[in-house]
Assembly symmetry: C2
Homo-oligomer: 121 residues x 2
DNA sequence: TTGATTGTGCGAATATTTTCGCACTATGAT
DNA sequence: ATCATAGTGCGAAAATATTCGCACAATCAA
């Protein structure tokens, strides 16, 4: 037999704005969310290849508990996806504006690096 | 003479997304930001009438340092305003979507209260 | 069944945040 | 000058968050 791993998720209507913002305020998690938005469902190792496992679990749990991510067991793996539709129902436009702001700030940073170091491709 | 109180603010281009999200992830500060958005410039006491002064200073400093609020001395008072234009230049739409999400979640909560307690106005 | 892989949960160390009293400075009113 | 008011900054306590080793459970493959 098999006690399949299950995960509890807040319902869409119960997702709390401060908790979502808090989840997104951590650079590591913000980057995870970007990956999920761009690449769709990922297993947790793809989400944080260099992190110790227990640290990874910590962050994915936080994303799940805050309503940002949906988690399901798939064999040994742990598949994670962004709850984009739910978030958009609950807080319309939020994830999009956060991610596009993140993207443009990142683009700017790599500009800086390129100019600052004289690196040219 | 008089060493007038001055406040340092990050430039628009230096405002960091995680820091802004973190600033907004605290319920107390989120409520402050809502007040600032709705009522315009306020002095710090209007922003947190029931808070101890040093706690108030802590939160307004955090809002200022994260680029969310602009602070200026006015006599003895400390006038605080939302850096709405700067934030919108840096992270277009962010503050609006956060505040409208906050508003609708709040509306829903008071719905709950009303229904739950049978209170009717 | 054995072994390798993936994830979980505990517990402890560390770091960060929050709260707030208190002494102090700046300002304005009398 | 004196007094009351508003705000700041320090420092300490408490609360939270983060990191991660380690033992363990679940799954799959051989």
């Amino acid at each position: 037999m098999a006690a399949v791993r299950t995960y509890v998720h807040p319902e869409t209507g119960e997702i709390s704005l401060p908790r979502v913002l808090f989840a997104l305020s951590e650079p590591l998690r913000l980057e995870m969310v970007r990956k999920l938005a761009e690449e769709g469902e990922l297993d947790s190792i793809e989400l944080g290849p260099d992190l110790p496992r227990s640290t990874l679990t910590h962050h994915t749990s936080l994303l799940r508990e805050s309503g940002v991510a949906f988690v399901r067991a798939e064999g040994r793996k742990c598949m994670i996806s962004l709850r984009a539709e739910d978030l958009d129902l609950r807080f319309p436009g939020l994830i999009d504006t956060v991610l596009s702001g993140y993207k443009s700030a990142r683009a700017e940073e790599s500009d800086d690096e390129t100019r600052g170091s004289g690196v040219e491709q």
